[in-house]
Symmetry: C2
Subunit: 381 residues, 2 copies
Amino acid sequence: MVSQKRVTARSSRVKALPIRSPGAERGEGRVQHGDRTSGRRYTACMSTGASLLGRRASIIDVAERAGVSRQTVTRAINDMPGISAATKQRVLDAARELQYRPSRFGRGLVSRGTPTLGLVVVDLTNGFWAELASAVLDEATERGWTVLIAETSHDARSAVATLLDHVDALFGLVDVPETELDELVGPTPIVLLDPKPDLRRRAWVRLDFESAMADAASHLVSKARRRIVMLDWSRSQPRSERATSFVHAVEGLGLDPLVLRHTATSEPSIDLGRLAAEEALVQWPDLDAFVCFNDPIAVGALKACQAVGRSVPADVSIIGVDGSAVGLVVTPELTTLSFDFRELARTAFSTLLASVEGSLADGGPAAHRPVRPQLVVRGSS
Amino acid sequence: MVSQKRVTARSSRVKALPIRSPGAERGEGRVQHGDRTSGRRYTACMSTGASLLGRRASIIDVAERAGVSRQTVTRAINDMPGISAATKQRVLDAARELQYRPSRFGRGLVSRGTPTLGLVVVDLTNGFWAELASAVLDEATERGWTVLIAETSHDARSAVATLLDHVDALFGLVDVPETELDELVGPTPIVLLDPKPDLRRRAWVRLDFESAMADAASHLVSKARRRIVMLDWSRSQPRSERATSFVHAVEGLGLDPLVLRHTATSEPSIDLGRLAAEEALVQWPDLDAFVCFNDPIAVGALKACQAVGRSVPADVSIIGVDGSAVGLVVTPELTTLSFDFRELARTAFSTLLASVEGSLADGGPAAHRPVRPQLVVRGSS
DNA sequence: CTGAAAGCGCTTACAG
DNA sequence: CTGAAAGCGCTTACAG
């Protein structure tokens, strides 16, 4: 091993070192120190100006400075047995002086490291994503995984691309066309969160709103609501999955399903919900309930109602989807179709593991256990 | 190079392969296939049962299957020039068949990878941390860094320990004693967010509430408030930094500073704020304003006031700290001392880079530019 | 267009 | 208690 030769050269005689082309870029900074003449000399002072990105001291530098072999450095750094206290101290001193930090790459190459999941969220300031991220972090920690998070609100493609250099698998919402997804993600295993139909050749977690929407509709009818409006949202589809379930549920009760499809390009936020609700109140003045794409939209609808003097829940009932914390902040508190985020995270993980096994066997994704939200009735309905 | 020998052995004659102890653990799964007899044979079928954690196909496996050298595989995989279309296709086919994914460790060892920041947050479902995380992700992306997030709400020590295997530096709140921090973090550069005084030997970002609290106090006095109560929170200190600034500000206006130090062990949440406010309303029945540790506590105070029929802002003014989204959801909207989270993220990064340079020079952290919140007046005051 | 060599930084046996 | 050798998986020159 060439790297070993260096140590030998130092401790015996100085001889012609092998040509090391990468060394050229570090030539600046090289320091001759005492009678040591190894071309690989690295001292703290030479690193002035080195950023986190630049060359750092390696285990060999520490070994040289402490006058021991690399294995001995490993023993000292990793608290392994079979090293004298004096030697250990000498190595640790040398390590500190050189600001030695083990390379995660060198280490990972040997130990393979802990598996890392890349979580692709749209926007952490949206409660749904924050709670999902929190749950995934918890679940991952329990399983010995690490989680890396990327936000796609600015640039989905570059966010995912960056993530891919660091992770073993992906989970989340990647809103790109099918063909682009293949190109973008390549061979990395991915579990998509509730994707559009054309992306369902990949492994995915299905959110199933059918039963919860049926519960919501029955609940509203029991409150004598008849003119129920869905404030939907979707970036690229004519209608969201949850709106479809809403239509089924309302029609099942013999009512007319009213759906406002807001064609905004912005995220499904409180502001957007307010606008959408104002629009709906004009379009259907006799409406008596809102079912909303998510909780932020529902909060916006609540604000819109309050602004025009329609009392909630006396005049208008409002139901959201998420179960995120924002629903507990408003007055009245928000009735919602609430997800168990921890269950969602668990399902994502088991789908991931199954899909890796499954795809090895037959190239197809594993069977999908759907995640179903639950109706939680609070003050707004 | 031994790994090279393998390829040679395969393409010429089968000779005694060097003893490879790690190979033992892969012996299960070894497959003899046609006339190929390399001990390193790896085919898709042998990997059934292999998890994400197990052995994967390496570049050598792909090279063997495609009948080319490793460099040629590199060229095909990385879209490099100097490779014929036919060869490239053959390599890509082999890679797909073996489900080849480049090892991030092997790659990082050569390219050093993009730098990675570990962000230590308490709880992403708290708006402050979610917005900070979002801002740090944005800032990091612009600088070409990747961000890994850990939540400390369950177990700060293990969260940080896991993170350390993956990152080049840390930023965030690590609420452990000084001595433990050294042991936990080791030589990894870290920037602490507004730490307790005993941790300030490390690099840190200072949050300075003096001017914003002075503005808040003046504002309240201009609204004829005289009995202003601070709902404070702190896990391990007698009084938070912001409460100290509050006392300075109120005393500066010749008023009596009233501070409720809630000795709860829970996080500073809406529920806690509600409890604290109820307590304060008993202790000081004539109070006419709350200044709160953060926005969730302020929202709790708002709920408490509404519950006992004290009108906000007519009877009681409420001011929070954060500027997170929750303040825009409540009615009336929350007056708050609002942070520019993007500025906070920027400051963290520049402190990090300065501290790395600085500590190389003299072992001490860089100078601290404080981050100051701004008073944003909304409906609650 | 393709391949043999050297090297990235670390750890795991093994031999003394 | 300590060190020489082999190897992890990849890329970057360099030589043909």
